[in-house]
Amino acid sequence: MLASAIQHIKPGDWLTLLLGSLFVAMLASSLWSGDLADKAIIRSGGKIFREAPLSRDQQIDVPGRLGISVVSIKQHKARIASDPSPRQYCVRQGWLQQAGEIALCLPNQVSIELVGSRKKYDSLNY
């Protein structure tokens, strides 16, 4: 059945198939490639608290409205390790690795945003 299917594919069809596959591969590589981040911007109360490079492992205590959020940076990834917010959304978000990823602790008004070498957008509004 496969052999009879292949005889229906003309030479130009093979070319089309090849072009189509290349096109799909190109789409996937361009749309799915997240830039790796190299810097974490830590904000508290809307102001930038610190910009930390991801190359060095460290723990940073960030004072917020409710208390202290702990940001931990390890192996080129960053996360909020603990936070006084009641629902712990930002902590449960886990490790952030790619540029553009954000963890927000709204009640404590603390956030970390990862940025790469080039920024994808100027600002985000919610």
Binding site: A5, K10, P11, G12, T16, G20, F23, L31, W32
Partner: protein, 207 residues
């Protein structure tokens, strides 16, 4: 009470352009549409495509929008046999009648189908001019499938979900278009192998 039987219709075919009332005992005027043999043929083909659409809706899909598009097999065969104009009729009739059957006429799903169908037809209008010696239904099908998904993504992005996040889904849809486009093209080519050549029109690309 327009009791027009098939006999009547065939008569109407022969006496094209002449309005006949359906009976002398009826005082009310009845409107008759004169149909040609080509109209009947288009309707038959669209009905086959419609059947495939309904059949396909029974197949579960992991992601909304990833569908085999079996009805396009009919469009491909009609394109190869009877030309682009007939294929456009069959395809658009299938979209409109299908939406009436599924009950989503003028709903978002209808516009998704419509934009996909229109862009596929435009792609087919270009692809049919490829040399038939080198390019067959498989190429037509793949180009149409990519155009289809392009049309749908445009509607989704410009109207339904204006968010850049849908870009993450594009490679999935494109892969599906390539796979299902190839399969549909192969099925269409296979059908055109088996069926005998109709005597009124010569087959355009003998394989």
């Amino acid at each position: 009470m327009t009791a027009s039987t098939t006999d009547d219709q065939d008569q109407g075919e022969r006496e094209k352009g002449k309005r006949t009332s359906s009976g002398p005992d009826l005082p009310c005027t009845s409107i008759r549409l004169d149909t040609t043999a080509e109209d009947h043929h288009i309707a038959r083909m669209a009905a086959v495509a419609l059947g495939l659409t309904i059949l396909e809706s029974a197949i579960p899909s992991p992601l909304p929008g990833v569908k085999p598009g079996l009805a396009n097999i009919v469009t491909l065969i009609v394109l190869a046999r009877y030309g682009w104009r007939t294929a456009a009729w069959v395809s658009l009739l299938r979209v409109v009648a299908g939406s009436l059957l599924f009950g989503n006429f003028l709903a978002p799903g209808f516009f998704l189908s419509l934009s996909g169908a229109v862009l596929s037809l435009l792609a087919l209008a270009c692809a049919q001019h490829l040399p038939t010696r080198w390019f067959g239904p498989v190429s037509h099908s793949i180009y149409a499938a990519f155009a289809h998904i392009t049309g749908q993504m445009l509607v989704v992005y410009l109207w339904l979900i204006p968010h850049a996040g849908i870009a993450y889904l594009i490679p999935i849809f494109a892969t599906a278009a390539l796979v299902f486009g190839t399969v549909n093209g192969l099925v269409a080519a296979r059908f055109m192998d088996n069926a005998e050549i109709p005597d009124n029109k010569p087959i355009e690309n003998p394989t």
